[in-house]
């Protein structure tokens, strides 16, 4: 437990210190969100209608962008080798790294969402509804993304391949995240149904993500 706590604190510290890049994901999110009106026009009713969807796409892309360095940084300086040389299962190590990554990139996205929602004319409780769905859904983005991060680390290819590998895995999260947001804002669907499925997706990702990522790392060693 002490070892896992140490790994968690290390990753959080690195992300928080200067050059960690945790804030860049939020900035990227903001820019993606604000590109929308330039593309579709500053039509407030239209923006209100597509707002939750654009917020979700922005958060999806921002969390994907940050995944690139999640394991690659540890590979580049040799830490990844040492992380495996202990009795601690690699699955737990990867899971803890994912958790620290979510705390420093996924959670800030959810927190920033109500503010950024104002730019898309999604205000008040609607913005908080989107934030709630992001809070429930971004863990799934991180933990499914872990698989892609582990695969690309061992294949020694860059972030572009990572996006291609991970984006299809995140489609269900996007579907139910946007469905839950829209249900909360406009109806007529019940909010509970898609939101519960979204939470279920996150829970599934907690299990699948670390196992698949650890397996990819182990098989990646030539």
């Amino acid at each position: 437990m002490k070892a896992l706590a140490a790994l968690f604190m290390r990753d959080v510290r690195i992300a928080m210190r200067a050059g960690g890049g945790a804030s860049v994901a939020v900035l990227f999110f903001l820019i993606v969100v604000t590109l929308t009106p330039f593309a579709v026009g500053p039509d407030l009713p239209l923006l209100k209608r597509i707002g939750p969807a654009m917020l979700w796409i922005g958060a999806l892309l921002a969390s994907l962008l940050a995944l690139d360095r999640l394991l690659a940084a540890d590979r580049d300086d040799g830490s990844l080798d040492l992380l495996g040389m202990t009795a601690m299962p690699l699955e737990l190590a990867v899971a803890v790294k994912g958790l620290a990554h979510w705390l420093t990139t996924g959670l800030p996205l959810a927190i920033a969402a109500p503010l950024f929602a104002l730019f898309l004319n999604v205000d008040g409780s609607a913005g908080f509804a989107v934030a709630l769905t992001l809070l429930a859904g971004t863990p799934a983005l991180t933990f499914f993304g872990l698989i892609g991060a582990a695969l690309t680390v061992t294949l020694r290819r860059g972030g572009l391949l990572l996006s291609v590998l991970v984006l299809p895995l995140t489609i269900p999260v996007l579907i139910f995240g946007v469905a839950a947001s829209n249900a909360a804002i406009a109806g007529p669907l019940d909010f509970g149904t898609p939101f519960t499925i979204l939470c279920a997706l996150s829970l599934i990702s907690f299990v699948i993500g670390p196992f698949a990522a650890a397996m990819a790392l182990r098989h990646g060693q030539e």
């Binding site: 706590a5 290390r10 510290r13 300086d77 040389m85 202990t86």
Partner: protein, 212 residues
């Protein structure tokens, strides 16, 4: 580490990218012994060390660690008993020197370690004055010393050293030599991949690959 350990390789084969790097490799190493792995570039020195550390799949043959209190505990891999000092220093530039070391002792150490071990290990490699400095400020040689401190702080019987003296100046090489001798005296084992002579009495040489 009081009980005597022994590490044996039987008919070890290494293949990388479809090419056979070495085959039929045998050696045994017991507590208090050191082995210098030599051979030309590409002979598979680093690969052998990574295999022992569990970072490279063993294509054929066996690696057995026996003796000590290990016999009853088959779950333990050799990698858990070994330190691997590769070409990279596994340091995070934004963390301080002591934070880097404390993380690795928490992650790799089996027993609960206080701050004392880390401080003492920093002293052993001559970095005791730099504990609070971010690792980004260290020179290449100092980073190497900090990696060495990891070996001192966490007791593990097998040291796998890949070109340990690279980036070290004369003073640091002396420090390394002292640390290696202490480790052997305490019953440790050392496998070092190297081009140059190491300077330890009674070190045996394992030449791999075709004779150059």
């Amino acid at each position: 580490m009081a009980d005597s350990l022994s590490l044996a390789a039987e008919d070890l084969v290494c293949r990388r990218g479809g090419r056979e790097v070495f085959s039929g490799l045998h050696f045994t190493l017991s507590s208090g012994q050191a082995l210098a792995v030599t051979g030309r570039n590409g002979a598979g020195k680093s690969s052998l060390l990574r295999m022992i550390a569990g970072l490279l799949r063993i294509e054929a043959g066996r690696l057995v660690l026996s003796g000590g209190d290990l016999d009853g505990d088959l779950e333990r891999s050799i990698g858990e008993e070994a330190h691997y000092l590769g070409h990279q220093d596994a340091l995070k530039p934004s963390l301080s020197v002591i934070e880097n070391l404390e993380f690795w002792s928490a992650w790799l150490g089996r027993a609960e370690l206080g701050g004392g071990e880390c401080r003492a290990a920093l002293g052993a490699v001559g970095l005791e004055t730099l504990g609070r400095l971010p690792a980004a400020y260290l020179s290449a040689g100092q980073k190497r010393r900090l990696s060495l401190a990891r070996l001192v702080a966490i007791p593990r019987p097998i040291w796998l050293l890949d070109e340990p003296s690279s980036a070290l100046d004369a003073a640091a090489q002396t420090t390394l030599l002292v640390l290696m001798r202490e480790h052997l005296a305490k019953g440790g084992m050392i496998l070092a991949a190297t081009h140059a002579a190491i300077g330890i009495d009674g070190i045996r040489e394992l030449r791999i690959g075709p004779a150059a």
